[in-house]
Symmetry: C2
Subunit: 620 residues, 2 copies
């Protein structure tokens, strides 16, 4: 055994000791899941990875994503042992005032994204690798991702694998920690390493099998992998869960359990195994630094140019907006999930293929890939897809929020105006979903002009943004030079005798405007508000106008009532004596023409007129 | 060519004609996606499948799931051509008053579940096959599932494949329609049939490759497949998208497009190809009928048996409830996603392994599998997992609602009391998600007794049910013989001088009770309501009590404000002059002890006391 190998083995055991001491702090955590990857982490940090230890977010650095985020303690231990922060801080693990949380989050300067939700780390790593190979074309950094074997039952893993091999991302190295055991018992494939090999090879990966506790084999394998071209690599590491952590070693029932009384004995045994006096191995720097390019001021290449009152679908306008920001800003990329014909995002592909990323059918992978592509501000990603399909990506979006990502999501085909394709294809819970994402900005534009501006605003907004569009043609109502701001609603009809504030967005605005015309002919005046952003909502504007007209609000939305615009308004006025009536899609819709469905499900102009007349009876 | 082969070929072309005529009705639909599977459908319906044509839901029948639901017209055409309903009804396709919708839904008596959301059909088919192999052990029915090649990028497909081969479901035959083209362009693997073969073989499938337009080959292949034991089969059908539908044949840009002016020419050509005068092939009946067993009255095998005021986590009580209904009702099955150690559902496995289904890590697949297992009332499925992970399954759940499924979902680890594992592991958007599911019943029990009763009620409730539990120990507050009803809240503290109605559930109820004690010592009385079900919500009870105490409500929940309990209450009182104050988790939490986090994120007793004192100032 060379000195280097011995040192790396000893460091692995030092990391194990750090883990045991750290999890003793709160007596919670997953030590056995840490121990199985101790040698892998040691070899990565002290031999293989090239990175600037004190500027961990330097774009030139190799990336490491710990998809099995519950093994966070050994990742923290490695950064501390390498010298990034004091080792004695490790025992703050999982305590309230420490950022060394149970699962990694980017509160820590050396973490790019939150991980720990099964399978979600890999698509992020794949997104980073895509950028490294296709966008940062002169960069040399590589992307490593440690995946638990239990994670391999998670579908998004295979979607992401499919993407990475399709694009031949040879800068990606996935390490699967095949320790055989999941949370409860044996994983689907157990210790059958050949089965893993067959699956990864069938997905077009360079596969190497390695004893995950043998430092020499690991070094050799990482070296081999670094030379493979035109294919991503998978290292299948045969490991032992709880290695050196008797009694948990290779045993069921020890997932997420601390050793308690056995801790000291294990530490003593590990200490006895460490014989290196002075360590010479250390992290290797990246070959050169790369500047972080923070240029977030994105503008449409040309202002909206629509003909007043002519009809356009907002999904088309959204695609036009995407083309314009792609034209004006080199960091904007559009991620499609094989729906670009109906979302019109193929326009981006037509304009510049290199700025259009085909993710194939998997919104969950696409969101993760975009989050990866956004890391270290390498790109400003826009995911373009159909709204209903985004329910597939809820976990990825949730994790994106915890990761403080700045991705933008454009949804076409929202609401019942989808028409003949039926309820399967209609997004009717998207506002509920995105409202429940902390910090998310939700645009719900009502015409082509406001949609293009929503795209422009989204590109400049921190956090996750969501733009709700539809495939139903509606007239242009705003001048091309109209100014829009996040959180600012617009009053479109206003009369001194207004009796009701009607708040709406998207397709329903046009139904409300039609209703307003009919009602005003009958002498009943309503104030019409186009909400523009559902989150943040224009609370001040709502309160001012509602109080102006006597405290009565009607909301109209092409969405289920639960979690939608109506409830957003209700929450905004909760502590006031304002009465709110909500019109929303009352049940699962069916196929029909858009026009028929608006009527059948109660959100058309005639329904709105009827509701308002019922509200006021003969009192007008 | 035998007569049979010629007839089946001719029927395929008849089906093509039906499709063309049907899509001409609304000039919307996906004819080219139908045409590629015409021969497959013909052979399945008129040669391979065994089913009672006029009782399509007979449990003895072979099942067919069209996962690529947008090809619905050819499925409808087959049922009509077979004689289940008149062929002339096909031209009602996609119209408002017809159940022949754009994607199949179980409004039609021959459809088990809604399909058309990419990839979601396969797990359902797999769930049916699991039942056929493991539960309906004397049944002979087989399960066929037609999957589009574009769907194969969808992760859940691979999760479901992993499950089916793990359980050696040899009654399952998947047909992949490899027509090369997705929505926009070529799929990831294009026409590379060998690549598909490698992937499916690596996932332990018996694979046969077939010319999907060659009836003889199809017959042979289906016959071979029927003899394979201990392995599920995949038939890789090389097909041409838009076959015989020139100009769309094998061409990009034709997905979801009708032929318009070319329709008549195509129909003429197809008619010329059909030479059979009198057809002799017809659907084959199943060997015998199977009774549908509708026995939905489920009871706990024994009443709750908890010690008053002793602390139990509600996730543990939920697992106890599951064991009790498994004991008392033979149709109850529990589906785990490898988290049964921390959800305690391993208790079911310990009681009876045959009633516990290990789905491995994939909530999306698990929900689909449970939906499949519920079809034709074969089982009463309970999915048991962690709440945060359910965000992975939002699309599957959404599709379940459209499918009118009766599945039950138990979520452990909801809210910030998850503690040290941090925000990744905390469900804080689950109420928003399930509230937006039409017809979903949401239980949010507050102690062990009410949790067991929630499980019992859920088992007897139609539609999707959701039970929100946590891993935080709370005292028992209800007598073991207390009666619970869906939609009925419970008043726990009641005083003539009550000034405020406080509505809460789960962990927060105990914080509110603690706050009530402190406040009442200060002479400020609050009425405390345990909501029990968030949906349906006890609107009557809320209104009555709120008006009783003067119209002021405070809600407290361990969930984000958006879409949660507070908004459910707001929606219930929207049209009244009632002021609602909402306390919820205000931002993404962090690691810490449960107790610390309750305080830090503003939902502990002391926060509640402070808020209420601020609300009332010196006015009490």
């Amino acid at each position: 055994m060379t000195t280097e190998v011995k040192e790396l083995s000893d460091i692995a055991n030092k990391l194990r000791i750090h883990v045991l001491k750290a999890v003793a702090t709160t007596r919670t955590g997953h030590p056995s899941s840490c121990s199985s990857i101790a040698e892998i982490i040691s070899v990565l940090f002290f031999k293989v990875m090239k990175f600037f230890l004190h500027t961990p977010k330097d774009p030139a650095n190799d990336r490491l994503i710990l998809s099995k985020g519950h093994a966070a303690p050994i990742l923290y231990a490695a950064w501390a042992e390498a010298g990034h922060f004091p080792v004695d801080k490790l025992t703050n693990l999982r305590t309230l005032y420490s950022d060394l949380e149970g699962n990694p989050t980017p509160k820590l300067d050396f973490i790019d994204v939150a991980t720990g939700s099964v399978g979600q780390g890999l698509p992020v790593a794949v997104g980073m690798a895509y950028v490294g190979k296709k966008i940062d074309t002169h960069a040399t950094y590589r992307v490593f991702c440690i995946v638990g074997d239990g994670e391999c039952s998670e579908g998004v893993v295979w979607s992401a694998l499919n993407f990475a091999s399709y694009y031949k991302l040879d800068n990606l190295c996935i390490i699967v920690d095949v320790n055989r055991l999941g949370e409860t018992g044996q994983t689907a494939l157990g210790a059958n390493i050949e089965a893993y090999k067959n699956r990864f090879e069938a997905f077009d990966y360079n596969v190497c099998i390695v004893d995950g506790h043998n430092v020499e084999e690991l070094i050799q394998c990482f070296d081999n992998v670094s030379k493979v071209k035109e294919k991503p690599s998978v290292m299948l590491a045969k490991t032992v869960k709880g290695k050196h952590f008797a009694p948990s070693e290779d045993s069921e029932g020890w997932h997420g359990k601390v050793l308690e009384l056995d801790t000291d004995k294990c530490i003593k045994n590990l200490e006895a195994m460490i014989t290196t006096k002075t360590f010479t191995v250390k992290p290797q720097s990246a070959p050169r630094r790369m500047p972080r390019e923070v240029k977030y001021h994105v503008q449409l290449s040309a202002p909206p140019d629509y003909i007043d009152n002519r009809k356009y679908a907002t999904n088309l306008a959204c695609a036009n907006g995407l083309v314009k920001i792609v034209q004006s800003h080199e960091k904007v990329y559009v991620f499609d999930t094989d729906v670009s014909d109906i979302t019109f995002s193929r326009k981006v592909n037509n304009y510049d293929t290199s700025r259009f990323v085909q993710c194939f059918s998997s919104e969950e992978a696409a969101v993760g890939i975009a989050i990866g592509a956004n890391c270290r501000e390498r790109t400003i990603p826009f995911i373009s897809t159909c709204g209903a399909l985004l329910t597939k990506a809820f976990d990825a979006i949730r994790m994106g929020a915890i990761s403080k990502t700045d991705i933008n999501i454009c949804a076409s085909h929202c609401g019942i105006t989808v028409g003949e394709d039926g309820p399967v294809a209609m997004a009717l819970e998207d506002l509920a979903m995105f409202r429940a994402i902390p910090g998310c900005t939700i645009f719900y534009p009502s015409d082509a002009v406001s949609t293009e501006r929503a795209v422009e605003l989204a590109a400049n907004t921190k956090g996750i943004t969501y733009i709700r569009t539809s495939c139903y043609k509606v007239p242009v109502i705003y001048n091309n030079d109209k100014l829009f701001r996040t959180g600012e609603a617009h009053i479109l009809r206003n009369h001194p005798a207004d009796k009701l504030l009607v708040i709406c967005g998207g397709v329903t605005l046009h139904e409300v405007l039609e209703a307003e015309m009919q009602l005003s002919n009958d002498g009943l005046h309503i104030r019409v508000m186009d909400i523009f952003t559902v989150k943040p909502i224009d609370r001040e504007g709502i309160l001012k106008n509602a109080e102006d007209i006597g405290g009565s609000i009607l909301t109209v939305e092409d969405h289920y009532a639960e979690g939608g615009l109506g409830e957003a308004v209700l929450a905004a006025v909760a502590d006031r004596n304002i009465v709110v009536h909500v019109i929303a899609v009352p049940k699962i819709p069916r196929s029909g023409t858009s026009k028929e469905l608006l009527d059948y499900f109660g959100i058309s102009a005639s329904n709105i007129v009827m509701t308002i007349k019922e509200m006021f009876g003969a009192n007008y």
